[in-house]
């Protein structure tokens, strides 16, 4: 599907986004068609299962296999999922939409056509707010979202002269989400798809699992000299990871720039991205690829629903990432970037809120983002499989806030809880990890160090930055349990600096 309105160009040229060619700078113009698998138990028009990884052709009904006389009956939950997604994209919901047949031949398309929504999609224009970096936010406008059937899967590596066809995916519901050409770099494209995936995961409308093919994109790329009219675009089909989407845009833009700078012209064509070679190449069977001869599907009546249906779904929506982020900034006083990191996954946001419950939110955010996420990444774990549960980290955060333990001890404690588990309070009590705030004990340690090091005392009075050495010695003497601020204050008083 290529429905970009190329006359619309809302974004001002940003010199930072330009890429340098041999003869000057170029601007990338990109729009994406994201195919997201709808989360549902059964297929869009049949009662066969959508579960991944089944035996070949087991999740196939006679409808999915396109046996003569079979008729499609629409799955109401798939309709609801499309509407929820539309609401999550702040998009217009169309109370009446229709289904069309998109005709082409391929062995994994037994009907000889895909049921799609060409003329009247279920969802119209919307927009997505995308954080590209900590400092840059863009808006990507949505052209439309429509429902369609997925095709089956062909395996080409099982035999030298045969392809093996499995129709388990045939008829699974997809949402095709078409953006306007509002994307200006590979980085923006990655951030946009990541945001779409976050929104759909919050909504529970697509699991966004790229390994299982739940999210794929067709990428439209053209280049132009800044300020000039839009160039001819190429469509790169079926790119199946966020990283590859970025790579495909970069190499395709480079290819086009090279051709144009050599005085050539771009042919509008469909291409494939080859991640192994890091290049795009023209599809072999392109000649009539776009002659799909759409026409209304006579097997399906128009899809119509009323406002009550839409409002019922709206009322059931969860708090979405943008709202949650705003609330985290407002209620917890978090910085935009930290809030963005925490809301990227619903599970992370829930975990953070559990840690912050009743404790200092900034300390909680800091520990979740730096210590916990760092450690989870390092060990390939997720929030769900984290050995440190939210209530345990909450207890650690509380002990830090109340100065019961120092930051240094807290890291040791986190390590113990990570590897051994247990109640952090109990561990601190059992192992004598409590921070020494008792000024008598600290004073004794300070006095001992001062008495033992008269030469250093003289140096410190001459050069107050030497104080750090004394703090270190006192911390060592107290096993890291002294409150560093208390040590600092006491040393300054004793040494008169």
């Amino acid at each position: 599907m290529t429905l970009h309105d190329t006359s619309l160009d809302i974004r001002a040229m940003d010199p930072k986004k330009l890429i340098a060619g041999a003869t000057g700078n170029w601007e990338i113009i990109c729009g994406l068609e994201v195919h997201a698998q709808v989360t549902s138990k059964s297929k869009l028009f049949s009662g066969a299962s959508t579960a991944f990884g089944a035996e070949p052709n087991s999740h196939v009904s006679l409808v999915d296999a396109a046996m003569p006389g079979m008729l499609p009956v629409i799955n109401g939950e798939c309709v609801a999922q499309a509407v929820r997604t539309g609401l999550g994209l702040n998009a217009q919901i169309n109370h009446r939409s229709t289904f069309d047949r998109k005709n082409y031949f391929y062995p994994d398309l037994p009907q000889g056509y895909q049921i799609s929504q060409f003329k009247s999609p279920i969802v119209g224009e919307g927009e997505v707010i995308v954080d590209v970096t900590a400092a840059e936010q863009i808006i990507v406008r949505i052209e439309r979202l429509h429902l369609e059937q997925d095709a089956g899967k062909s395996l080409h590596d099982q035999s030298p002269n045969l392809s093996f066809v499995d129709l388990n995916r045939s008829g699974v519901a997809l949402m095709e989400i078409v953006s306007k050409p509002d994307i200006r770099s590979a980085e923006e494209a990655r951030a946009y798809v990541t945001k779409l995936r976050t929104i759909m995961r919050y909504l529970g409308t697509c699991d966004g699992n790229m390994e299982e093919g739940s999210l794929r994109a067709d990428v439209n790329v053209s280049v132009r000299r800044p300020g000039e009219p839009l160039g001819t675009r190429c469509e790169i089909k079926n790119v199946n990871s966020i990283r590859f989407i970025g790579q495909a845009i970069e190499v395709e833009a480079r290819r086009q720039i090279e051709i144009l700078e050599d005085g050539g012209k771009i042919d509008q064509e469909t291409r494939l991205f080859d991640p192994g070679r890091g290049e795009t190449r023209a599809m072999r069977s392109k000649e009539e690829a776009h002659d799909y001869r759409y026409f209304p599907d006579p097997d399906l009546l128009p899809l119509e629903f009323d406002d009550a249906f839409v409002e019922g779904l709206r009322a059931g929506l969860p708090e979405l990432p943008d709202m949650k982020k705003a609330r985290f900034m407002r209620d917890y006083g978090l910085a935009s970037y930290d809030a963005g990191v925490l809301v990227a996954e619903r599970e992370s946001a829930d975990y953070f809120e559990a840690v912050a419950d009743g404790h200092d939110a900034k300390t909680a955010a800091n520990w979740v983002i730096n210590e916990l996420f760092g450690r989870l990444n390092k060990e390939g774990k997720t929030i769900a499989t984290s050995p440190v549960k939210a209530e345990q980290l909450g207890a650690i955060v509380e002990m830090i806030s109340s100065s019961e333990i120092s930051g240094k001890i807290a890291k040791d404690l986190f390590e113990i809880v990570w590897t051994e588990g247990g109640d952090p309070r109990q561990i601190v009590a059992d192992r004598g990890m409590t921070q020494v705030t008792d000024s008598g004990a600290i004073e004794a340690a300070v006095n001992a160090i001062i008495e033992a090091n008269p030469d250093k005392v003289a140096q410190a009075i001459a050069k107050p930055t030497m104080l750090g050495w004394f703090v270190g010695q006192v911390m060592k003497q107290t096993g890291g349990k002294a409150n560093p601020q208390a040590v600092n204050d006491l040393l300054k008083a004793k040494l008169g600096i």
């Binding site: 549902s40 138990k41 059964s42 049949s46 009662g47 066969a48 299962s49 035996e55 070949p56 052709n57 087991s58 999740h59 196939v60 009904s61 006679l62 409808v63 999915d64 296999a65 009956v73 629409i74 799955n75 109401g76 939950e77 798939c78 309709v79 229709t98 005709n103 031949f105 391929y106 062995p107 062909s154 395996l155 080409h156 099982q158 035999s159 030298p160 002269n161 045969l162 392809s163 093996f164 066809v165 499995d166 129709l167 494939l272 599809m283 072999r284 069977s285 009539e288 002659d291 001869r293 209304p296 599907d297 006579p298 399906l300 009546l301 128009p302 899809l303 119509e304």
Partner: protein, 95 residues
């Protein structure tokens, strides 16, 4: 409206129907007489009538999201000219 011979060849190719050169003039005549017949519809006054995909005065039937079909791989592949482990086997198609 009428079709020329090139259009007949193109339609045949899109439909993956093998048509010999000798058959083309005959098919062209057949298609054009069908188009001529359908053109009678153009005389109907449709002023103010919404384009429709169906004339049935009924709503689209909607199914609940339950798994109640499939799990019949042997049946589904039974008529396949060639199959193995319940895969359909077809001449190699690689893009």
């Amino acid at each position: 409206m009428s079709v020329d011979q090139a259009t007949v060849r193109k339609i045949a190719h899109l439909a993956r129907i093998a048509v010999s050169e000798a058959e083309i003039p005959h098919l062209q005549n057949e298609l054009n007489s069908m188009l001529h017949f359908v053109e009678a519809l153009a005389s109907v006054d449709v002023e103010g009538v919404e384009p429709m995909t169906s004339v049935m005065p009924m709503a689209l039937r909607i199914r609940a999201d339950v798994v109640n079909d499939g799990e019949m791989a042997a049946l589904v592949t039974r008529n396949a000219p060639q199959s193995e482990d319940h895969f359909f086997l077809v001449p190699k198609v690689v893009e």
